[in-house]
């Protein structure tokens, strides 16, 4: 419980510091590089634990089966979420579908959609970044009852940025499932989003703007 609370509190404190740093116009280039470095160290550490504790190939294969099921749930959830958002806001279904199908990969979704429309880029970037933030905040809470099912919240981020959180609050088997889930989605997203946007040659004009 203290660990979960600490994750939430630290994130909120960090977010506040980030806002203040922006307001006083201080660059965070070194910090963003530090995030990358910490991430690589953590991924290597998780690799050590997984290889050290994995019982057999059978355990990894069981992980693949569950990962594929989770990938299907994550993609379907994103599709339905995108369609529902478009229906509620009376706007372009294809556009919201593409944003929702970013599944947490904000650097790709934001950059790709920005080449079509800058507002779309902002929306794609922020919505997917919020998904990563939501995973960091929600996974520790949901992991006690739904350690496997809650992986779908993280989308593509479960292979890197949110993997340490998943590893911290669960066990080796769940970490393997999360990594495979994130890996499959990471390989699919650069194919899915351009394919969806290719079906919508119109320029994006939000109905409510």
């Amino acid at each position: 419980m203290i660990g979960k609370l600490a994750v939430v509190v630290l994130f909120v404190i960090g977010f506040g510091i980030g806002v203040v740093l922006y307001l006083i116009n201080i660059s965070i280039y070194i910090l963003s590089k530090a995030v990358e470095l910490f991430l690589y160290i953590l991924i290597a550490s998780i690799g050590i634990v997984v290889a050290y504790e994995a019982k057999s190939i059978k355990e990894v294969m069981a992980g693949i089966d569950l990962s594929v099921r989770l990938v299907i749930a994550t993609i379907l959830g994103s599709i339905l979420g995108g369609i529902l958002t478009a229906l509620i806001l009376h706007s372009d279904v294809i556009v919201y579908l593409a944003i929702a199908l970013g599944m947490g990969w904000y650097t790709f979704t934001g950059s790709y959609l920005a080449t079509i429309d800058s507002y779309l880029g902002l929306l794609g970037f922020t919505a997917n970044m919020f998904r990563e933030i939501a995973t960091i905040l929600l996974y520790p809470i949901l992991s006690k009852k739904y350690p496997i099912e809650a992986i779908s919240i993280g989308g593509a981020t479960t292979m890197d940025t949110t993997l340490p959180i998943i590893a911290r609050f669960t066990n080796t088997s769940v970490t393997i499932i999360a990594f495979i889930h994130g890996l499959i989605l990471t390989l699919l997203i650069p194919i899915i989003i351009p394919a969806i946007m290719a079906t919508n040659p119109k320029t994006f004009i939000p109905s409510n703007r």
Partner: protein
């Protein structure tokens, strides 16, 4: 776009994982008496907290930088769009995963 095919900086994520897996496998056979995973787990616990703090800083900064390019009026519309685009895929995906992971597993 090819550079962005893999999350993070190129394929360093995969390289880091591969190195970790190799070290883990080697330690499994070489240092059986030492509980390597317990030592690494303790290290992970500490670094996760540092990483969460750093991710928070980068997120706060980046979101502020992005939001500052639009006006206050458009901000309200954006907040609605963001709320729906974040919450709906997460909630529906989670509910579907509750169903799909149980199919054929007798749960």
């Amino acid at each position: 776009m090819c550079g962005m095919l893999f999350r993070g900086d190129g394929s360093i994520i995969y390289l880091a994982l591969l190195v970790g897996l190799l070290v883990g496998l080697l330690s499994k056979f070489r240092f059986r008496r030492m509980n390597i995973s317990r030592i690494v787990n303790r290290f992970v616990i500490v670094t996760v907290f540092i990483l969460v703090l750093l991710i928070g800083i980068v997120a706060g900064y980046t979101i502020m930088a992005r939001l500052s390019i639009i006006g206050i009026q458009a901000l309200l519309i954006l907040v609605t769009e963001l709320a729906l685009l974040t919450v709906l895929p997460i909630v529906i995906g989670f509910c579907l995963s509750l169903l799909i992971t149980r199919i054929g597993r007798g749960k």
